[in-house]
Amino acid sequence: MTLFILRRMLQAFNVLFVMSLLVFAGVYAIGNPLDLLVDPNATAEDMARAAASLGLDQPLWAQYARFLGNALQGDLGNSFIHGVPALGLIVERLPATLELAVVAMLIAVLLGIPLGLWAGLRPDSWSGRTIMAGSILGFSLPTFWVGLMLIMVFAVQLGWLPASGRGPTAEVLGVPISLLTADGWRHLLLPAANLALFKLSLIIRLTRSGTREALLQDYVKFARAKGLSNARVVGVHVLKNILIPIVTVVGLEFGSLIAFSVVTESIFAWPGMGKLLLDSITQLDRPVVVAYLLLVVTLYVVINLAVDLLYAALDPRVRLAGASQ
């Protein structure tokens, strides 16, 4: 098991290294880094100073080493627009995005697994078909458009929920969280539902097909033949088997939730990293874009690693295979 973890961590570092190379290549090697990294409105003096400070006179490998060294120290340059360190700017927005993504994933999981189980147990029933039709619709609805429709219905027409912004936050261990106030929840609900929709459809389908497959397995028939109650057959024998792929997917999709939060955040003016990224792209604030990329990539690698470990912990076949190596 330890070896397995070590090997996976080594792989994770590899990915990080490759990604840092790619980002470096994208920013420094393609085109003129000065255009990318220095404020287009800077004077010629600024340019020269920047060129020297970036070490552009050095060979490429030295430039990369410098970039990497700085990145490891958390120095990814200053934002042109805000004039503060880019990484700090992003980390500041991280809690808002994470909060949105976590709540969205919770909605998707807490609704998706029961609905998927139901549809899988009764595939030909009216309710099962309706759930599946709904999930196809959920797949087909473009997230951003659903966001607009949610605003139109719940904020403009019905006036139940606010259309934009983050509600009041309370600090927990120095991290601002809006889950502790009712108004915070009111602000969170629409964007989280919007972000959850696609994943909800995904989890419904995954759970349904997993359930259907599991029901055909001998171990389910055997469990029935043992005289177990339906609740135990479904809740333990079926669920425990389908939970393994679901946990994996939920973990992996969590990263994509963070990426997709760009869309939701921009619609609902949610002050997270995604909105910052979008603003930075349109305002050509490259250091912030670079910082976002590296941070998100790191986040991804960490999530993938965590999912792999979790997967190993859940599936005895993997866990014990790792232990015996």
Binding site: V15, V18, M19, G26, V27, I30, A133, I136, L137, F139, S140, L141, P142, T143, F144, W145, L148, M149, I151, M152, V156, A163, L216, D218, K221, L252, G255, S256, A259, F260, V262, V263, S266, I267, L277, L278, I281, T282, V289, L293, V296, V297, Y300, N304
Partner: protein
Amino acid sequence: MSEANILPTASPAEADVERPLRRLVRMYAESRVALFGLALLLVVILAALFAPWLAPQNPYDLMQLDMLDGRLPPGSASGDGRLTYLLGTDEQGRDMLSAILYGLRISVGVGVVATLMALAIGMALGLAAGYFGGRFDAILMRIADIQLSFPSILVAMILLALFGQGIDKIVIALVAAQWAYYARTTRSAALVEGRKEYIEAARLLGLSTPRILFRHLLPNCLPPLIVVAALQVAAAIALEATLSFLGLGLPVTEPSLGLLIANGFQYLYSGRYWISVFPGVALLLLILAINLVADQLRDVLNPRLQSQ
């Protein structure tokens, strides 16, 4: 218990007699929902193809627009009384129906072109990786794995942030975001097929490698690829719309559905829903139709479910 599962299905003997294509058509037609999806898809594609002839006006010919007709609700007549704006107008007095038809054209075009390019690239790489194996295979799949662990929207946004906007840029971004799906699908199919005896036989016959690859191996890898491609067209169209909505995709001169929806966003608050809602419905119908077709294709082409 095996009896219990096999029973309600057609006997294999019966299925074998039928020609494969006819069987696929019959199995496809078994689902009414899937037939509806196919019909819907045909309608949408025809509408996109013949947009210039179907649209009441050319929405981008400024001569035909009348600013005085701006933001009219659906069903209003134009100022000169010559046409009725079935779906209303936008702030420039543009007929929404016409704008949607033209937007559909761009959305479908970009999605299909990007998918075909990604398919060609991914298929070639995947086929080579699966057939030759070795270090090329290992490196290619490592790259594909890393890329696939990131969502395509992130990959596309990074590229657009680096290269800037434009219809060519977004096609490149879509291709870059999607080639890996095809490469992986082709590779795994090629690995399975490549081990089968007919490929061995073709090798023993001394057929040239390209001939084995393209005449023998590729056709047998097609079913899973068709399914992936069908699903990915929908994903590509949705991705393009999303990027355009965010202002990262197509320029204002090439207004796809995503851009139309973005234009109408600000009017939602004042109750002028039609500028955003109708392009969104068009986009939804397009993606829904593709997904319904792709869904049924997956069931029909999946050998594991073939008897069901």
